[in-house]
């Protein structure tokens, strides 16, 4: 099972000929992901690495290859358009890696997605990994920029805003011998397509996922909403971490969404609510997997 993607998911990459997109498309191919198409306007008919056909439009790529998921690597000024194009082509899962999209653009995209058949993950996110069963998790589905080899197939679901903190958690889990069902990076922007709560709900419904790590940070109330939902609905043990306890108020900490705006979106306030909702909060980022073992009784 796993969520959103599995070994058979057919993936296309928008912006496959840019240096960033090409590099990560290559790494996904090496990981064993079913990368079936690329899209770069004006380069239709060419092939990526001599194997993956490139199309001018997303709808051509979908019609020809049956891709159901897209990874977007196009530069910020064109990213909103790329998301809308994927939606128009009926792509079920749109994963936008691009960092730096104007908030006004995302505000409009978010409206357009309402009532569509597409789910957006990101933007400004590391993407998703459902690890494979081969050596160093080879054969899995990797959409985005995460290092595939640190994963291991297993039963822990990981959801996070931050890329490197996700890798940190995954690495800790794998080192302790616990694999992952799916790892989802939802991104560090203030407006994103998929929330912590959305992912918790999917993990809760996924038979393969037995326990969950939820990583958040300062800014907004998404982690708090997810925790409150989990308290009432989630049957699986959860460990959490919130970054930014030492961040000064009013400053944007790298991620566009990581900013303390008031009393409620500080790390301290979020950790307190997570704990009240029965989530095992890790004291430090070094102890994310250890905290899960406590919650999970392992």
């Amino acid at each position: 099972m796993a969520i959103l993607i599995d070994e058979n998911t057919k993936v296309l990459v928008q912006g496959i000929t840019g240096s960033f997109g090409a590099r990560h498309a290559q790494l996904s191919l090496e990981y064993g992901t079913k990368l079936v198409a690329g899209v770069t306007p004006g380069k239709g008919g060419q092939k990526f690495e001599n194997v993956v056909p490139i199309f001018d439009t997303v709808s051509q790529a979908v019609n020809e290859t049956g891709a159901t998921a897209s990874a977007i690597f196009v530069p910020p000024p064109f990213a909103a358009d790329a998301i809308l194009e994927a939606m128009d082509a009926g792509v079920k899962l749109i994963v936008c890696i691009t960092e730096g999209i104007p908030v006004m653009d995302m505000m409009r995209v978010k409206q357009a997605l309402k009532g569509s058949k597409s789910r957006l993950v990101g933007p400004n996110c590391p993407g998703l990994v459902t690890p494979g069963r081969g050596e160093k998790s080879h054969g899995g589905c990797r959409i985005g920029i995460a290092p595939g080899y640190i994963h291991k197939r297993g039963n822990v679901g990981v959801v996070s805003r931050s890329g490197t903190l996700t890798y940190e958690a995954v690495f800790q889990l794998t080192q302790m011998g616990y694999g992952q069902s799916t790892c989802v990076g939802i991104g560090g922007d203030p407006i994103n397509g998929t929330s912590h709560l959305d992912v918790l709900e999917m993990f809760n419904n996924d038979p393969e996922t037995e326990a969950i790590i939820m990583i958040g940070e300062i800014g907004g109330t998404a982690e708090v909403e997810a925790a409150r939902w989990a308290k009432a609905n989630c049957k699986k043990p959860i460990a959490g971490f919130i970054a930014g306890a030492t961040a000064p108020p009013g400053r944007r900490m790298g991620h566009a969404g990581a900013i303390v705006g008031g009393e409620e979106d500080t790390a301290q306030a979020k950790k307190k609510i997570l704990a009240e909702c029965g989530i095992q909060v890790a004291e430090t980022p070094s102890e994310m997997a250890a905290a899960l073992m406590i919650a999970w009784g392992k």
């Binding site: 920029i145 490197t164 800014g219 900490m253 990581a258 430090t284 980022p285």
Partner: protein, 393 residues
């Protein structure tokens, strides 16, 4: 990015948001000319710095106050002479103060009533939200805390934009009527256009005032711009005043580094914003105080690492450095080589702890060990944080 008061006035003028008459001046002569132009009105002269608390501040030359009433063009010139190219110290500038390079001559308006009006990008609804209150002129956080019933909120549909009925609702909540309500409606409508067209993240007018002669004016404003959208607003980028910013942050931005200076003594250099925040947190957890937030990004080059090192070492408070890199895709050895090159170029006068993990990590660690530099290796984040806290003492 912040802008000066006179620049806010320029934006208001461009979008026809009424504000008191005013003109910026860079010399006593220009100040006098501006005062002459507005003859007949009661006028003030205001030092242009980003920091608040100007009125109660003092200049290092002994002149008191960054805001003064002026009676004549001669006095405008005299006060401008005492403010321009002098350093103003306020509660927000710290002891070093800020150099005043421009002053504004503005109309001092009489006030009938003060209101609060703001437009923000609301995360919860993913839409612009208008916040209005009859309790203007004071901190909106205090109003929200003490008298929450005095705050009115209206979410605006992102695609439909601000509607006439929404303006009427807000106007009614503020108790406005007749011509004042009409003027307010026009002001709010234009303010919303400014918010959207300039990609603002926040636009706060506090206070918005009504005057005895029947005008509605934006008296003081705070702007926040979406950094991600600045690429399509060269006119707003041109308003940036680097002299007003932390020089360390200006230097960092030139190398595409995300740096924020703090007050502690343990510097950190990390890849990824989440990990960078978490590294600061873990330093604090083990009893240290972080000196900065620094995210070198996913694909940091040797040049960036060197620049980051120089910025860190330029901070006299820094007594130790923790480098924390999870090289998922990046080769740890490349990072190790970057660190060594940087340390050799800048020298290494203080303890350095390096925690490397990820791709080609064994090679990276070997490179660091063979460098001959006094670098302490750490295995985990916790190990690294404990080691640097201990080294700094």
């Amino acid at each position: 990015m912040n802008i000066h008061e006179y620049q806010a006035k320029e934006l208001f003028d461009r979008f026809q948001v009424p504000s008191p008459k005013g003109k910026v001046a860079s010399s006593p002569e220009e100040a006098a000319a501006a005062a002459k132009e507005f003859a007949g009105a009661k006028l003030v002269i205001k030092a242009q710095v980003h920091a608040g608390g100007r009125g109660k501040g003092h200049f290092k030359n002994g002149f008191k106050g960054g805001v003064h009433l002026i009676e004549s063009p001669e006095q405008a010139a005299e006060f401008a002479g005492k403010m321009l190219n002098e350093t103003l110290v306020t509660v927000q500038t710290g002891e070093e103060g800020r150099l005043v390079r421009k002053v504004m001559i503005a109309e001092a308006v009489d006030i009938t009533h003060e209101y609060y009006l703001a437009i923000l990008m609301d995360r919860a609804t993913c839409a612009p939200i208008i916040v209005a209150s009859t309790a203007g002129g004071m901190s909106i956080e205090d109003v929200a805390h003490d008298t929450p019933e005095k705050i009115f909120r209206q979410v605006v549909h992102p695609l439909l934009g601000l509607q006439a009925y929404e303006i009427r609702k807000i106007s009614a909540e503020l108790g406005l009527s007749g011509d004042i309500a009409k003027q307010f409606g026009k002001l709010l409508s234009n303010l919303y256009k400014l918010f959207v067209q300039c990609d603002c993240s926040m636009l706060e007018i506090n206070p918005l005032v009504t005057t005895p002669d029947g005008r509605v004016l934006a008296l003081d404003a705070k702007f926040g711009f979406d950094d991600n959208a600045l690429y399509r607003h060269p006119d707003i980028v041109a308003m940036r005043d680097k002299e007003e910013e932390d020089p360390r942050e200006v230097a960092a931005s030139e190398y595409d580094l995300n740096y924020i200076g703090l007050d502690g003594n343990i510097a950190c250099l990390v890849n990824g914003a989440g990990l960078a925040m978490a590294t600061m947190d873990i330093i604090k957890h083990y009893g240290g105080e972080p000196a900065n937030f620094l995210d070198v990004g996913g694909g940091a080059s040797k040049e960036q690492v060197t620049a980051a090192f120089k910025i860190i070492l330029g901070d006299p408070n820094v007594k130790g450095i923790l480098i924390n890199i999870f090289g998922g895709i990046m080769d740890c050895n490349v990072i190790a080589e970057g660190v060594i090159a940087a340390a050799k170029e800048t020298g290494l006068p203080i303890p350095l702890v390096v925690r490397l993990e990820g791709n080609n990590v064994e090679m990276g660690k070997a490179t660091l060990a063979a460098s001959g530099l006094d670098i302490v290796a750490a295995d985990t984040m916790a190990d690294g944080a404990q080691k640097i806290v201990k080294a700094v003492g």
